[in-house]
């Protein structure tokens, strides 16, 4: 799985950080998403997929291999 984020569209909801803190963080000043791991290991795929779906701005994109 390859993860990418469109930070320009992020609304700083932080839902991804709640679900997958190993993969996502937020910038301190404005809460915009920071991608920590663009190739997360398989046990994180479930929470990452959930993050992509819940993300209120739909900025998390997944390329599944």
């Amino acid at each position: 799985m390859k993860v990418s984020v469109d930070a320009d569209k992020c609304v700083a909801a932080g839902q991804c950080v709640l679900l997958a803190p190993e993969v996502f963080d937020q910038r301190e000043e404005d809460g915009v998403v920071v991608l920590l791991d663009e190739s997360p290991s398989s046990e994180l795929h479930g929470p990452v997929r959930e993050s992509a779906m819940v993300c209120p701005a739909a900025v998390i994109h997944l390329a599944e291999s």
Binding site: G31, V54, A58
Partner: protein, 400 residues
Amino acid sequence: MKRVVIVGASISGLATAEALRRNGHEGPIALVGAEPEAPYDRPPLSKQVLTGQWEPKELDLRSPAELDALELDLRLGVRATGLDISRRTVSLGDGATLDYDALVVATGVRARRLPGTERIIGVHTLRTLSDALALKERLCPGRRLVIVGAGFVGAEVAAAAHGLGVEVTLLEAGPVPLALAVGEAAGRFLTDVHHEHGVLVRVGASVREVVQERGQVTGVRLADGAVLPADDVLVAIGSIANTEWLADSGLSVQDGLVCDEYSAAAPGVYGVGDVARWHNPLFDTAMRVEHRTNAAEQGMAVARNLLNPEARRPFAPVPYFWSDQYDVKVQAYGHLRDHDEALVLETTTEGPQLLVAYRKADRLVGVLAAGASPKILRAWRAVIADRAPWAAALNRTNAA
């Protein structure tokens, strides 16, 4: 379970379909949507679409290839018109009938209108992409926009239109905008933000009628007789759940489809998203939540319950919403609406910001931040999810 019919093709319906596939459902899924567009995202309609920052294409929730991969029987531009739960059939406006083993009701809400204004040119509501594009076309510098209703939609449009050089007046019938939703302190804070940006917010302003000349709106007459001239009027006075098609189904409808803690309305029938009034066991109350993240979460939860009927799990989220107005971001967790107390907390950083904790009985049930770093709310969310008593919750978050 073989055939799933999902009525409603916005985020909650799409989330249900995707989660069904992801969790191994290989049977047919019909996804029925009243609007002609492929599933798109609504929050930007009152923000980036109006300002022109985003093209409509950028609202697409999935690419055509991603939708194809779901192997849906996708029926767009078609309304459901009736439901027979004993025969397990949904009738559609184009005359078709769909059989189901499981039905997911995801028909959402529509904007409430002012009676008698439907045909007047220049009177708008905002719920769909076509609504947003029609309004956007009219927002030119120097034009006058009167917004009836200072809730979140009205406030966001006010901010966007003001940024385009439109003269905006925001009307609120009550004494403080948003007071019912988020309390008076947060309502006053957001009113001040509008005033600082030069948008007039008139409170205690009840609308008697929309004034027109030859079918074109010219203003809004208030209860006191005063007329506010307007080139356009946005009616933003809340929403109505799209449940008319369920009227003869025998399902319980009370401002939304009544569902239990599993989001089930009847055996094999579930409700998701804005239309569902379900029992949230975390707050031990029935709620209907019109927010983007809840719609997606509920769709995923229902898909799991559909596929695991022996191991169903209650849907007990801490609801989340955000709103962007000018450069201020508002974020909230919890169930704020029926609070007994809204306590304004001290914040330590500089600048205009607000942090409010909400109490119901002796529990912390919600928190709202405006203009603050979005990260501070995450600690609060955990405390709400823990059902923390009020005093202990305030101590814990003070220490955090």
